[in-house]
Symmetry: C3
Amino acid sequence: MGKEKKDNKKKKEKEETRQRALSKDGPRVSSFVYGCWRLLDDPEGSDVKRIRSKIDACLESGISTFDHADIYGGYGCEEVFGRAIKDSPELLKHIEIVTKCGIMLVDPARPDNRIKYYDHGGNHIIKSVERSLKNLNAETIDLLLIHRPGPLMDPEELGAVLDHLRKSGKIKHYGVSNFTVSQFKMLNSCTDRKLATNQVEMNPLHQAPFLDGTLDYMIQKQIRPMAWSPTGGGRIFNDSSEDAVRVRTAVQEIASRYDMEPDQVLYSWLLMHPSNPAIILGTNRPDRIRKAVESRSRQLDKQDWYAIWTAATGVEVP
Amino acid sequence: MGKEKKDNKKKKEKEETRQRALSKDGPRVSSFVYGCWRLLDDPEGSDVKRIRSKIDACLESGISTFDHADIYGGYGCEEVFGRAIKDSPELLKHIEIVTKCGIMLVDPARPDNRIKYYDHGGNHIIKSVERSLKNLNAETIDLLLIHRPGPLMDPEELGAVLDHLRKSGKIKHYGVSNFTVSQFKMLNSCTDRKLATNQVEMNPLHQAPFLDGTLDYMIQKQIRPMAWSPTGGGRIFNDSSEDAVRVRTAVQEIASRYDMEPDQVLYSWLLMHPSNPAIILGTNRPDRIRKAVESRSRQLDKQDWYAIWTAATGVEVP
Amino acid sequence: MGKEKKDNKKKKEKEETRQRALSKDGPRVSSFVYGCWRLLDDPEGSDVKRIRSKIDACLESGISTFDHADIYGGYGCEEVFGRAIKDSPELLKHIEIVTKCGIMLVDPARPDNRIKYYDHGGNHIIKSVERSLKNLNAETIDLLLIHRPGPLMDPEELGAVLDHLRKSGKIKHYGVSNFTVSQFKMLNSCTDRKLATNQVEMNPLHQAPFLDGTLDYMIQKQIRPMAWSPTGGGRIFNDSSEDAVRVRTAVQEIASRYDMEPDQVLYSWLLMHPSNPAIILGTNRPDRIRKAVESRSRQLDKQDWYAIWTAATGVEVP
């Protein structure tokens, strides 16, 4: 075997160890996922060059998975991202695209919507996926997520349309976001393939999924969650509520002791959880992207992990 | 095939399309069910003639299922209904009788009861069913429901007595009312046949079963709920609480836009739910009965459905 | 068969009827279990003679199971109990030892602990069991319980170490304490044998396990709970909160009517529950131990059972 081949093999292995399947038949994703919901809020703009610089920062850092939703940026983020794809279609060989559907926003882009609601009907889901593909300039969605559950969701109709989209090649995998365990089981019983993931909010200030069975169930079924808002949407760094201040103080003390950035401490905190979440980053700064992934190799002490947990609840564990 | 046969066949088909099974081996019930708990509160009285006029209004409207409980009307409603049956025993060929047991009221009719409690013991359940059969002048109960779960309920004893009653022919099917998912699973694991239904409160002001997994589980297991208090026991029309006022305003706006009665809007709202509930009507007015069933053919817009949901919560969906 | 043999057989049968398995393959325990968490709080001291007098009072009363935890008495109770075992090793043939692990206390005996936290890691669990065996002067633990669940608990690692300890003979059975249903299912899916029990708080002032599915699930799976704090840690007899006063009043009225001690009423109340709990007694007085077990033969009226339940909630059942 020549040197180049060996190097390629090594490089490939390195990439593969960074990418892991979300579930048995689910898609492989990188351990950090780039969240695109703030793409249009970047003070540096959102032209193709700027978008491309962030994609490159991700790829250089081992982040190959990009998380979208039809509604992000007022139904605008997919299109902006898609312009970078149109400019360099070869990117599609190196990235995985996640997108979502089902939320109906009151927005100038959707004049028919009189109220914020959910549409889990077959017609809407198909239309939404076709629009996402067009916006993203992609042939297929690697992972489609139902963005939110809703009381009017018919799992039989929804399951059938997810399988239809998979068979037609428009999507490769499907999953959900923000589902309770019983909603997950209900929809899971109506699809040919198992749901690949449940994307939920996970951070010290949002302990519900840690306590209400959501993550227990996923661990038991060996389905990894995707974690949105790993820093509580920034609340942990900016908020003046008592619990946010307590968590911030604990995180800062630990960060200084370990010589880490506070956000890295929060990523390490999540990566230590046995559910093995894929963590969604929302920053618009390429340097923060590069910095974030370093926390992959950092392990907190169990007592530090519980110090953050306890700071959030305000009382010691029982 | 002669004309009469054809007409009979058509009529039968029509009736059949109105009647649907609650679950795989469960009883067929009409999509609206007449609730008998207010039979004795009718200002027009409760003599055989009046009761019969309501039964006839139901049958003419495709309502063939009548919902009782031993305790309704201070242990009196079954007997009053039974007088109409005694007067016209052929009615039993055209109707299905649901009744319930297990609640012990402090009531002059039950001098032994010192406190409101539940008795899920075999002796009481058998005695209660035998008393219901006698009061109703019926040979069998089409569907017996355990009225409420209780912390002292022994599912092994209760499951055995339900099967005993079924085998003896005193009841044809059994189910429960107001059970949580775990109580449902527990009792279901102790009976030979599957529980046919869970009769629960369902209306915009009582969102618990829509959110806590009760209806998710039933949808997954293809068991239809029976919905009691579809109008919140009238709260939606009379109450001055903020949530009731908001729902009333939303329902009235929709009713006027669709040219429907407000209660019809609420029935349509429930009929659109994927759990396919059989809706229990509680009115004593034959004209209201006839009017109610018309909502079967009316479909609200999804946005209107969520407008009512959102009016109840007071905040837009997440 | 000689008289002695007959007597021995009778005595054995009597003992056996008192001891019942916690679950299908679980350990047999006595219907009352002696809880050792207050061993060091005894005003009469905790020398070998005093400990032995309590062990004897238990054995004479049919209590053969002793409930420990590494942390009880500031990591000191196991050792005090173990001195009585060292003094009379033959006791081990007549008793079953339960102990627990996983809680890390801030305590002079554990100077490394900076914060109260949980350690469910393999290393700690093994170390803790080995220390318990040494303290107790025992060759094996009859039943090891994971003391508390925790958000950082990895069920795969924990399940593997429990099976490792069982195969090595250091423990005979394993179970959990204070677990939710989903935590129980999660860990249960990662062990070769089924979890033998869930030790939970059960008393009229702590209705959660009666209502949240914990006991429903155990009844369904035919796993008996162990009930800690059957008298609410004494709250029912001493506390001045409204619910405690209401329960105390109801219990006293019933006690006087049945000619029982108030604590006996509470034990009978628990023994009537269909989950068949093994009840953990915490008294340090041998006379109270002997008195407690008499409640085994006393059965309350269902209305009295609900009178206590209703006193706790403050409202009649729905």
